[in-house]
């Protein structure tokens, strides 16, 4: 499955402005800057001008990657029409993001982690309040210190917030399948200071669920591994190959989807992409006997010591 996250990245770098359009964009830049200044402004700082032109480029780039442009590019040969399409695309993205954020709020996990609460509960609302799509479309507004398992920070403006919220939704749909106490227990092992340390809530949960499913295929994952289970896992997979591990992980993930009733295609796609991104990490961790940074295994190594 190809997750939209990767699709997005590829498109972003492929869609460059063609020479004719570049000519129109040059003409449009002056209009765009004048529009920003209004009737009473005549001058701008170079920094502000740079910001505005980045915003213009981002808006046009967004238009070039939109469905409407791909469907009928001949309608947008004029750069002004392309800018209008970009602004419309931004509005739609913002509208969808707001709706998705509303849907996410009731799913948030009741943990005390500061970065999680400050970013997901407060900062995202700040984004919607302060974002200015017309002239600072590329501005991310917030630092989004809470990391999602698949990063969204290479994206800009409304596109960033849209993907960031979609990632959060996928992660929370997954997390909601577990008991809150089981999650809290897990996070206490991730870090002794699970309030101030910055970590993603989804990663340890899916990693534990994967190992659990690989060890106990018939069990519904409930994040109930023991230190002995991790030892068993080490022994079983220490001589494994990348291909064999990938195959077992895929099968385990399919079982998890079924056992936890995770039927949403986007959530499944998110989990598969994440799993693919950690296979090497898991292999390194197992075959080098703990030298690596696979959160789940590190967690239980600490647990065993405790």
């Amino acid at each position: 499955m190809n997750h939209p996250y990767h699709q997005n990245q590829n498109d972003q770098y492929q869609s460059d402005l063609n020479p004719l359009l570049k000519h129109y964009v040059t003409l449009l830049s002056q209009t765009y800057l004048e529009e920003y200044l209004g009737d009473e402004g005549f001058t701008l700082s170079t920094d502000k001008t740079k910001d505005l032109l980045t915003s213009l480029k981002f808006t046009l780039d967004l238009a070039l990657r939109s469905k409407a442009y791909k469907k009928a590019p001949e309608q947008y040969q004029d750069a002004r029409a392309l800018l209008d399409l970009g602004r419309l695309t931004l509005k739609e993205l913002l509208y969808k993001s707001r709706l998705r954020y509303k849907a996410l709020l009731p799913q948030l996990i009741l943990v005390d982690n500061r970065t999680y609460n400050e970013t997901v509960r407060d900062a995202i609302q700040g984004f919607f309040k302060h974002y200015r799509p017309n002239f600072f479309a590329h501005d991310r507004i917030i630092t989004a210190d809470y990391p999602t398992a698949l990063p969204a920070t290479q994206l800009l403006g409304a596109e960033f917030i849209n993907v960031y919220i979609r990632h959060l939704i996928a992660e929370h749909v997954f997390l909601q399948k577990f008991e809150l106490d089981a999650l809290k227990r897990l996070y206490r092992f991730v870090s002794a200071d699970d309030i101030d340390v910055i970590f993603n809530l989804f990663e340890p949960a899916i990693q534990h669920a994967l190992i659990e499913s690989m060890l106990y295929p018939s069990r519904i994952p409930m994040l109930a591994l023991t230190a002995e289970d991790i030892d068993t896992f080490h022994h079983r997979y220490r001589d494994t190959t990348y291909e064999a591990l990938t195959r077992d992980m895929r099968t385990a993930l399919k079982r998890i989807f079924k056992a936890l009733n995770l039927s949403d295609a986007y959530v499944q796609s998110y989990c598969v992409t994440y799993m693919n991104s950690i296979t090497i990490k898991l292999l390194t961790t197992i075959t080098s006997l703990g030298v690596g940074n696979f959160v789940a295994i590190e967690t239980f190594q600490k647990c065993a010591k405790d």
């Binding site: 002056q30 800057l33 004048e34 200044l37 209004g38 009737d39 009473e40 402004g41 005549f42 001058t43 701008l44 700082s45 170079t46 920094d47 502000k48 001008t49």
Partner: protein, 176 residues
């Protein structure tokens, strides 16, 4: 002094419609340019435009619309305190420095007018007093308000913070 007695808040839209020759004719009627021929006005305007380019580069700013120089010229050439084209160079440097410092709180058109009020009424033509005392007060007030002050607000603020005229500073400037 009430805001109604001060000749500010002009219609800047008119400057966009002016051709170069209309601009020179308009300037010829102002106190600063009144004894100059059109060709002298032309070369003054050219020198002022060049000074503006230098000031823009120095303060890392870009001129987006051409109205800036005509607007500045039409207002400040009404001043009785301008003596030479050097004064324009100083004025442009002060202007662009504080325009950057204000970070967009005041747009160019109202800033030119507020600055002219300060120069004429509060500084009585003392450029150093404008630069070192009055403009910082305008910046402070704008940041306090989070927007451009009205002329009345600026007058009230200065009556409280700068009740004295710049005689002392003029004296010190002359002395040293």
């Amino acid at each position: 002094m009430s805001s109604s007695s001060f000749p500010v808040m002009r219609n800047f839209q008119t400057t966009t419609a002016l051709t170069e020759s209309e601009l020179y004719s308009a300037l010829a009627a102002t106190p600063y340019f009144k004894n100059k021929s059109i060709s002298e006005i032309k070369s003054s305007v050219l020198a002022i435009r060049e000074s503006n380019q230098d000031a823009l580069i120095h303060h890392k700013r870009i001129m987006i619309k051409d109205q800036f120089i005509p607007s500045l010229l039409l207002i400040f050439s009404e001043s009785a305190y301008f003596e030479s084209d050097e004064d324009w160079f100083d004025l442009l440097n002060i202007y662009h420095y504080y325009k950057s410092d204000l970070e967009g709180l005041i747009e160019d058109a109202p800033l030119i007018e507020l600055m002219f009020y300060l120069f004429e009424e509060r500084c009585e033509g003392a450029m150093s007093y404008l630069e070192g005392t009055c403009m910082p007060q305008l910046v402070n007030l704008s940041y306090d308000l989070g927007r451009a002050p009205t002329l009345d607000e600026l007058q009230d603020f200065l009556d409280e913070t700068l009740p004295l005229r710049p005689i002392q500073e003029d004296f010190e400037t002359d002395l040293y």
